[in-house]
Symmetry: C2
Subunit: 248 residues, 2 copies
């Protein structure tokens, strides 16, 4: 059996508003859920300020270390939107106006169109401008780096383009078991299943707020048979009355 090559990814969330706590980042979680479904391993989420040199350095580094990179934020027309220029810096290219996008902007704003609006047509030179049937506004991708907007509704809309471009790999499978045992008592049982199934990612999550259970266990992997075998091996070691319930 040869080891399966799983594509990897990193998310770069850009915005002072996240670091100051004004806004709760939800884009990285929406991305995480999509990538899980597509069989891509999200290895890192990094949140940094609207700072051109920091963004450029992060994109340059992440795009070398992961198969896919997704930036979120900093693509509007104002002074604090520096992501496009930073991505250009990261790949050593100029920032240029994409005329197709510029025409879309002129058509949208008509006589009210300003130089400010047209800043939204700037792209790193040589970028791919991906469109799909349902998302016709171009989505900027520079090599392996998608440049996505920070507004959550628009970010989510663009995920359809991400899915179309990177395609579906073997999706991750996840099963959950809910118990009333605490982690101290679960530890030897978990150690046993982890030793038997090294390829399965076994997670243990205690709750302090849900009265229906004490610890949630998760069994994740790419091979559904192995995930089920690990879960069943664990279930066989539980005392009577356990588990409380399972998902799915």
């Amino acid at each position: 059996m040869t080891a399966e090559v799983v594509p990897t990814a990193a998310a770069l969330v850009i915005g002072n508003e996240i670091l100051s706590g004004k806004v709760q980042d939800t884009n990285s979680r929406d991305l995480a859920l999509l990538l899980r479904r597509l069989g891509v391993r999200l290895e890192k989420i990094l949140v940094i300020p609207d700072d051109r040199s920091q963004i450029a350095a992060s994109v340059a580094h992440l795009s070398k270390c992961h198969d896919w990179v997704f930036t979120s934020g900093g693509v509007g027309p104002t002074h604090d939107d520096v992501t496009i220029e930073a991505v250009s810096d990261a790949f050593g290219v100029r920032t240029v106006t994409d005329e197709v996008t510029a025409d879309l902007i002129r058509a949208h704003y008509g006589a009210r169109c300003t130089d400010g609006h047209l800043r939204m047509a700037l792209v790193p030179e040589g970028a791919n401008l991906d469109v799909t049937e349902s998302v016709r506004w171009p989505t900027i991708r520079m090599h392996n780096t998608f440049v996505l907007p920070g507004i959550p509704e628009v970010f989510r809309m663009k995920l359809a383009v991400v899915e179309a471009v990177i395609g579906r790999h073997r999706p991750f499978v996840s099963h959950a078991v809910y118990t009333n045992m605490d982690e101290g008592h679960l530890k030897p049982l978990l150690d046993a299943v982890v030793a038997l199934f090294p390829d399965i990612d076994v997670g243990s999550y205690p709750t302090w707020t849900d009265a229906r259970f004490r610890t949630k266990l998760t069994f994740d992997g790419l091979d559904e048979r192995a995930v089920l075998d690990a879960k069943n091996a664990f279930l066989a070691t539980l005392p009577s009355g356990e588990p409380q319930w399972m998902e799915p």
Copy 2:
């Protein structure tokens, strides 16, 4: 006028459950809001898996680059809880049992106490174990690195200890202005105020879902007078009928 030295911080969120999208991280935002109030600049949030060598490398790096580091997650007793050992690795010390914590654990679990439970008494050798009047369970801090639990309710509880240890600096001041103008039209007005007030962090955030306004502008800084001056300079340039409203 000498430049004010603002303490800096980084958050290291540890957990496969965040990267797989099972759980929405909210700890980093709770931390961000506290640090804002305390006058500490949160410069980076990094989310990585439950991987000892990755955690160790990240802690070693972040603790050198920032005044304070806050880890979240990976401090329970199970196989996927490797943060304590990783923090020890980062600082080149052994992981040892803290007898005070071990006694608390034994008192709590009584006859049901297992070796698994006692793993929660492990600390990096030489760590500070901070307590406050209200949070008597020791909070682990290795030099400038707080090691906080991932469970949101417990994380929030520990923030009282963080506040007690790092103290209050000059808090950040933030004012917000809500307008019906779009960013393309706002850009020249914002550029003007940014040029006049380089020390003020001016943010511009369009909404796609709130019908009451089109763009939220924020004015943040440490000097309340300068924040108000920047806001007022901007307000003076708005057309009649604007802004829609302001906060505070």
